[in-house]
Symmetry: D2
């Protein structure tokens, strides 16, 4: 987390009914539109990204509605669980946790739903548990090809401001975001970007909602305010993070993540560790998930690296528990920090007695120098 953001956060909380607040709110709301690449509205909830998942569902759907969800990993599974908790009927497109959403299967499935019972399709853009992305334009194309009216709901919690994402152009109806990844903030803000169609659907949606309802939020936001106490200090941080992203240029931010991700994969190849995603077109630029060889436990490796080098790696989640660890390379991250991170992994593999090829760091540096 960048110092500039942390320092922006630790100021006294201003009155959320003052004109200074309105200025802050507008800077955040306008800035987030450009991050989501949408001319339409964006709302900011004082909640974590999980709350923004709930907002996407309760504002567009009604009890018993059927939705289609792609199982791409641990987080898609949690979102599915939430939808069921909320009384929705979820059809899961099962997956192997090593691929993104399969657009061809989706098209077929939607074509079979001639009654248009499916109200929405839920996709995670970047599965944080697997480091695998889904091709959102392809998903949209499949829905269109099936001439199906289902809404497209997309989670970008770990891709937003790391990888290219175009809410409007890609035809997404509700995009879900959070503060704690590419926006370089502490957790505590949840975002929704909405299409006109989603807002229209919202008017007919009958799931009970109050905290997460769009209506009053949009009304108050229009004047620069919130219908209830917002998370003012995190908005200070958001304004600063948006400035940092603008200073670097969002396209440069994407390129930086792409470079660091590719360097990480070069290291992984040198080590001979298998990547979780099987399709190289679906590699994430936010994080890289790597299997440890059979007979080893990723938790042991992570514990050793934490103990010895004070570096915290991502745990294997859900089905990957014990089998794969994750290297994050998102947010305020640069080449030398990556070198340090990869050095920690390489030394950790050695100290843990995990068979691996040498020269991972070297391979990464070679790519960074040439790339």
């Amino acid at each position: 987390m960048p110092d500039r953001v942390l320092r922006a956060i630790d100021h006294a909380t201003i009155d959320h009914r003052s004109s200074d607040f309105a200025e802050l709110a507008r800077a955040c709301l306008d800035g987030m539109k450009s991050i989501f690449q949408t001319p339409g509205p964006v709302v900011i909830f004082p909640s974590s990204g999980t709350g923004a998942w709930e907002a996407a569902l309760v504002n567009t759907l009604s009890a018993g509605d059927k939705v289609l969800a792609f199982e791409t990993g641990h987080f898609s599974t949690l979102w599915t669980k939430m939808a069921r908790n909320l009384g929705l009927s979820v059809d899961v497109m099962a997956g192997d946790w090593r691929h993104g959403a399969d657009a061809a299967r989706l098209e077929e499935r939607l074509k079979g739903d001639s009654a248009h019972e499916i109200r929405a399709v839920m996709v995670v853009h970047n599965e944080t548990s697997t480091g695998t992305t889904s091709n959102i334009p392809a998903v949209r194309k499949a829905i269109n090809a099936a001439r199906h009216p289902a809404l497209l709901l997309v989670d970008t919690i770990s891709s937003l401001a790391c990888m290219e994402y175009r809410h409007e152009e890609w035809g997404v109806d509700v995009t879900v975001g959070g503060s704690q990844k590419g926006l370089m903030l502490p957790p505590g803000l949840g975002f929704n970007a909405m299409s006109a169609k989603a807002i229209e659907a919202g008017k007919k949606s009958r799931l009970p909602k109050s905290f997460f309802q769009w209506g009053e939020m949009l009304e108050a936001n229009a004047k620069g305010f919130f219908p209830y106490t917002p998370s003012t200090n995190l908005l200070y941080g958001l304004r600063e993070a948006l400035r940092m992203l603008e200073e670097e240029g969002i396209e440069n931010v994407f390129k930086r993540h792409a470079r660091l991700a590719e360097a990480t994969r070069r290291a992984a190849r040198a080590w001979g560790l298998e990547m979780v995603p099987l399709n190289c077109a679906e590699y994430s630029n936010s994080l890289t998930a790597l299997f440890v060889p059979e007979g080893f436990n990723e938790a042991t490796l992570r514990a050793l690296i934490l103990e010895r080098f004070n570096m915290s790696l991502g745990a294997g989640l859900g089905k990957l528990d014990g089998r794969a660890f994750r290297i994050g390379h998102l947010g305020d991250f640069n080449e030398l920090m990556l070198a340090g991170t990869l050095a920690g992994v390489e030394m950790g593999l050695e100290l843990a007695g995990i068979p691996h090829g040498k020269g991972g760091v070297d391979a990464a540096l070679q790519y960074l120098v040439e790339g």
Copy 2:
């Protein structure tokens, strides 16, 4: 907001699946039990207090359930509106915004509900818009006297850690709290303390819920974790705020607020400004709401004081818009800060040409010296 708390917040966010996090979570959860004065569970949502209102309702009630709400001011009205948004049927016990909840009327009303259709009673302990408290033990006694099974739901957003509050002893079923008042934190945490009866009711409640559901939260909390990303940085701040309250001693905190509130009322009397609450047993120790004389607008006074002295007072809310302003004297506040605040009000009254008695600050100081 105390510097100690702000500085606690602006540290790098730790992994919310680590053992350090579990230690942090336990310190917060245990500390909050002592603040609520309950041996039972407390949950912490990464949301503002409004979210905690929603949690209290969706975890205990089902669509169409009848609830009884006391209209004590602006915030009780907003909570009522939320309950209706969520599909509950709310009977409002109308009020004049100058009194707390009327326990006698409640007893009568509940006795009339022989079918026990009323599932819950909603009361705001300290109405932030009026500076008026409700007598919660009396409310409980009324429910008991009517031998009625309704749950008692109490909002303590602006009283918690300022005035005496005893969740267990007073027989409250769900207490709702927030981070941004007596806990001296930025907004962004919502709390529920629950009775065993509330948890039992929760098992039968059928309002859809996921983000705000108690079940998974309690399960994860038991191990020191959260079912989804928590607001880690605010938890750092909460741990520090709890330490500060413990160092001072919660009884001393209450006494301090009582002294500062009484000094404020002495000033108000010297100025000849009418207090909003009519019953002196219901005066709030968190804030004091004062009417400006007929023919004057409180917004003009507040704008002048903000412009001239850079001091922000509380606006008149809802029915009190334009008519009453509010002086907050809660949280990390001491005698000299109060003297400065009252001096700003006294000079503001003079500069705004509002007729008033002299010597308000003097009267406050006299009380503080003698009291």
Copy 3:
């Protein structure tokens, strides 16, 4: 100390040989010229104001040189002691600690020095121990009237950026400043502003010097650097403090201090406490020193106020130990902070049983409202 300044300070220290540092140094050096109101050079030592006292002496004088010093209080006495430590011969113009420098006596004294043995005149612009100022233009006029070549050395440690001061126009040869008063910084920077005549004298000065020598400092400063490691973090703070002073406008800063000082004196008069300075033309706008009545000890009063209200007042220093306490009203200080301060003093007087008139705070507020 303003938050903006503290936060500016707590950043990582940049390389003091980098171009970023040069930019910082130039902003500080140029800004300080405008604070001293001089087109000539200013130097900044990584030392407290005491170091800047030494710099003023060792750069202009030689062993055994005779200098004339006005005894205006504790700090003028310490500066005299330093001059003697450094091997200078100091003639002290004795004083009663209740008046500033007497220009008429000076003129007479200098006229008597036909051999021009006196090399320099040392005056403290604002005696921090007594709250008494000296009329520097009058002192200059006296030197000129005597047609005496002595250098004029002036300490502005507690007046700079609080009260009007014009190094160039007033004909001062060396002005001494520090960071911790009107510049709102922690202690740790010492300043000298120098006339061309002072620099010329410096070339003949034979007191040994290295750390505090002007020559290498001016040479390095010309390129934006320092001849040795500077106090980089305090320079960050200085740059921010200079921005704040510029935003408010230095003339407005002076007016603010004048208003707050006069309000303090109104309170003092109401209390019936005697001020240390006897001549109202010499009242300081930075601080006010007040006698406690015979039979009382100021230390007891200060201890009580510290204990009870957590407010620290200035101690009686030197001859005033036990007899007078000091109220600071300089730097980042506003009307409501002053009201709180005066309220603390008024309540303290009451609690300490010190006979005093009532209504000091009232008198101050009345002045602030009308003034």
Copy 4:
């Protein structure tokens, strides 16, 4: 600079005549004794290390005194220049900037000084410009062997709290230190540790002194105070830094620096870059200075690395300007930070087209894993 230290610094400045200050001062003074490994007194000046150099000289010597200084690099040369500025007569033991002080030559030289004209020997323990240390126990032994009464003055500005140093046991008379290296603080504090003999010499010393005089400082320090305004905020930071060193254990701190330095040297060897020090017994553990090959300029390499990787390396100083750059590995530094640093150097060498061997980072990691 560690966050803990920066945050300790940015608090409001307390009254330096209060009992809280006395506690702070004692913690700092006692802590520094253990850092210098001396039971004798330590003084702390609100100045940079350069000021502490001056203090060592002016407190022990008189005008015209002869001192002997070892030329070990840029900083020893500056110290010599200071001694001359102060009116001392300096005999320089010329050196090649690639070796530490030569104890054998010293013994011979002192034996030749049968009149005991030489009053002091000046040695830099760790030459920051060359990464070369001097063997202080050997220097002491040489003085003793010559039965010469000269004082031994040692600069530890860049070795203190990084490498073993024993003021008392090694028989040093005055040790000079600064805040900005091993103590992990911003610059702005200068230290002297003194032997009884040095204090005795101080009583006869006749160089003029005031700001830097030991006498009043020791007297005031004895009660926990300072004779003039101290750099309070840096003392906050010092107290925190001392806590950090104590938590890690000073012996562990030394071991950590030794490990990181050796890893750096392994990388240097792999790159084939020549180290500045010629004697491996004199390698510094604080920093490593490396020559670039003939025909290349170290400034170009550093500029490229700064521009491309935002990493600032140490410049070639004095005679090494353009020829050697310096890698710092002192203070709050760990293995992964070193890996990042070495990666930056290795990529920089490649991008600058400087001929070098591959695998420097690899060699460092290999050592760290095995070591």
